[in-house]
Amino acid sequence: MNKVLDTKSLTEQQIDLLPLGICVIDSDFNIVCWNKALAQWTEIISEEAIGLNLLALYPHLESPRFLSRINNAFKSCQPVIFSPSSTRPFIPISLDDESGESMLQKATLVILGEQKKYAQISLLDVTEQYRQIQALRAEKEKHRASQSRTLAILKTAADAIVTITSEGAIESFNSAAEQLFGYSASEVLGKNVKLLMPSPFAEEHDGYLAHYGQSGEKNIIGQGREVIGKRKDGATIPVHLSVSEVHSQTNGSASSSRLFTGILRDLTQEKKAQQAVQQSEKRLAYALEATNEGLWDWDITTGQVFFSPIWITSLGYEIESVTPHISFREAIVHPDDQSKVQGLIQEHFEGRTTHYECEYRLRTKSGEYRWYLARGKVVVRDDQGKPLRMVGTDVDITDKKLGENKLKQAIEHAEVANQAKSEFLANMSHEIRTPMTAILGYTELLFEGGDLSNAPPHRLKAINAIRNNANHLLTIINDILDMSKIEAGKMSVERVETHPAQIIEEVVSLLKSQADGKGITIQVEYDTPIPEQILSDPTRLRQILMNLVGNAIKFTEIGSITIRSSLTTDENRLRFAVVDTGIGMTPQQRDSIARFEAFNQADGSTTRKFGGSGLGLRISNTLAQMLGSGIEVESQEGVGSTFIVNIDVGDLAGVKMLTPAEIESRAKQAAAKLNQPKADVNNKPLEGRRILLAEDGPDNQRLISFLLKKAGAEVEVAENGRIAVEKINSADTPYHVILMDMQMPELDGYDATRQLRRENYTGPIIALTAHAMAEDRQKCLDAGCDDYATKPLDRPKLIAVVEKYCSMDRSEIECCAS
């Protein structure tokens, strides 16, 4: 130490201890002082430095920045400052850290002494200071960037962001807020936030803020909630508001101020959507309630099901007790309906049905099963079409189901009753026809039995009256039978060879006497040639024309009736028009008639005047529909009526067309034949024929026997089927023909015939039946009969059919049948 003190002056020591680099140069830049700090920094010790030239040591100082200013300082004694520069330091000094940077120095140069011979250069190390500045600057830059980012976020945020002071003054108002409230930021900044609130919230707000300020009691801070905002235009808007409290350190002030940031989201659309959903849910609920339908919504993947309260309560369960899972429903489905339900659901799952619909039974809480109609649909499927969600309803249809069953039973009862009615009618007709056979037969016999010219006129009149009324009764019975067939839908028609011209002639000849009696003529006209034969039902065609012409006669007092026929080739139909000059009908009557309702004449009064069951026209219309098209009616009151019927003719290929002239000549020929002397007629066509008549009624036994015997036959009678079979089996000479009544005691005709055929009896058997229905005929043939004759018996027809079979052997019969 002493040595140092010896060699260095006190001032020098002081300079050494300064935290500055000190260097003193003379005006020639020769170093005269180099303190310890500088020695350390530059690693040039004082002893080495002193005497060196500074410019030689640091040549960069010769640059204008340094040299001229230093020279000038020597001249003017003015101090010079060199600000710190990393690129141009006064004296380049490497830092002793690892940065590799050089020391930043603030250099000052002052001239010492009055002689201006020396300049003292002080170097202040400001490296650390500047580093701090740089760091601070970077920090600030970062902060600024983040601030501008925050500002950008604030500005572009979709939610409105409003900050207010603890006094309620608006501090910031982003553009979403501008949009939400309709104010620009400049309009509201600094103003109290109350202006964004409607009454009474606006009035309460100050109080709330003040209260919070004192008590810290939070109402809304830290949690979001829905509030009402007020726009600039006065409109209120539902908004979701969440408020957070921020303590911000304001610049230049040590005290922190409280700020509240409110984030607001417009709920208008959300509210609307929510309301729409609520409304539609309400509507659905009302509809479901009104129809008492229970709703279910089934998550198929998890099995979770939402059962609506109605669904649950209608089954008598408590809402809490029902597991919201599909297994609950599965468990209460009636065991008999399980597979049906599963099947239909599966079918719908697989997309084979557009909807699921199923009637099934569910067990109520009381254990009773009630019927439900389930209707539903898979509403969500995955990409592969796998069902994910199904929604549907169940409605209680128990009452309806019971009603349906009752209806079903009622229908069954009605059908049974109707069946009974049909059977009754069939039986009645049989019961009536049987005596009618006798009445008509004996009446005929009375006419033929003796010389009527000798009979007293009143007796002749009586016989005639019996015959006419019996025929009338027969017509009525036939009509009732037909009607019952129509009502039962059992009416059928044939398609066989039919000769229309012949039928017209027959109708005319049958009704001629009736017309003659009223002084009316019946004319037949052909507008076109007509086919000799057509494919139709001759019996039914005759019936239609008989009815129409008969009606015409009935309702015509003066004039004529014309049957006009023509072939309409375009429709392939034969048109028959029955034109009368009768009383005609008013349009109302015509319409009433044209409805062809049963038991309906033009009006009730006509029935009394003109008689008739009123069934004929209805039957004719139905028959006409079956044979072609229905009856058309044209009529003019007081002038007359025209009833038109169009009949399908079938295939006419190869069928001869008859001109009116040809028809007339044929008719004449037929009439001439009829008028031939009786001598030509074989009065005994059944001469030598053996006939067995199986018939239980004594009157008919006698009548039929009489007729057959009159025709020359030898007749034996059997009272029932059993006797008939016995007689046939025991007969020495076989019978030529068996006439078999079908309704007989002990063994009826069907069973007797069947038995005979089983025993290989081959002779002809002709059924006699009062059953005029088509199925009866078939029933006879099925039993083994060869043909069939309907009671009451038409004498010539009976003789003709018996005659036919007498002369045929088995093979011929079978040939005929086929």
């Binding site: 200013r69 000038n72 003017s76 003015q78 400052i81 603030k106």
Partner: protein
């Protein structure tokens, strides 16, 4: 004390010589052309300065102060609006970062600029007076110190009034026009010394 037109012209000329030298120095320092001009010199008392500043729309928020003593004594000040001051410092220092009033680095540069300008101007005055003046190192002062600087000057000069030579100064650097003020505060007597040195033939 009022100065006539000739006196003012003469003083303006002296200042212009100084600023011309300063511009050269700054140009050398930065390697780019810098112009400094003092179009017009005003004289006022310290009490009138506020009105004058207002009239010219000047701002003394950032000051670079340098005191001098000798045959004449006073203060030389360079004043800028804060933004202008930092703008100047950044341009001269080649610093790209924005602002900052706390930034020591910018203050350092401003000190050096002030040192160059004030040295040149005062050098020009000292040459005129053929005297040596003693200077303090330039120092950055804030606006708050301004009143005190002027007041100090007044106090130092006991009863005599402070005269302020005031020049509206335009700095053109890198095509930017930066406006500032140059203020020289003298005691009234010292102005007379100055004027007599400047205009030896006129009666002051």
């Amino acid at each position: 004390m009022k100065l006539n037109e000739i006196q003012l012209d003469a003083l303006t000329e002296i200042i212009n010589i100084g600023t011309g030298q300063a511009a050269n120095s700054l140009s050398e320092l930065t390697g780019s052309r810098i112009e400094l001009s003092v179009p017009c010199l005003h004289v006022c008392g310290n009490s009138d300065l506020g009105d004058l500043a207002e009239k010219f729309g000047l701002d003394f928020s950032t000051l670079i102060q340098q005191s001098f003593e000798g045959d004449v004594s006073g203060q030389a000040l360079l004043a800028f609006a804060k933004d202008s001051a930092f703008d100047l410092a950044r341009t001269v220092g080649g610093i790209e970062t924005d602002d900052d009033e706390l930034d020591e680095e910018l203050h350092g540069i401003l000190e050096e600029i002030g040192n160059i300008v004030l040295n040149s101007v005062m050098g020009s005055v000292a040459n005129l007076l053929e005297c040596n003046l003693a200077y303090t190192l330039p120092k950055i002062r804030s606006e708050k110190s301004f009143g005190k600087i002027i007041g100090n000057c007044a106090n130092n000069t006991s009863q005599s009034e402070t005269m302020i030579l005031f020049a509206d100064t335009a700095v053109n650097i890198a095509s930017r026009d930066i406006r500032g003020s140059l203020l020289l505060l003298f005691e009234t007597g010292d102005i007379r010394v100055l004027l007599s040195a400047l205009l030896p033939d006129s009666v002051v």
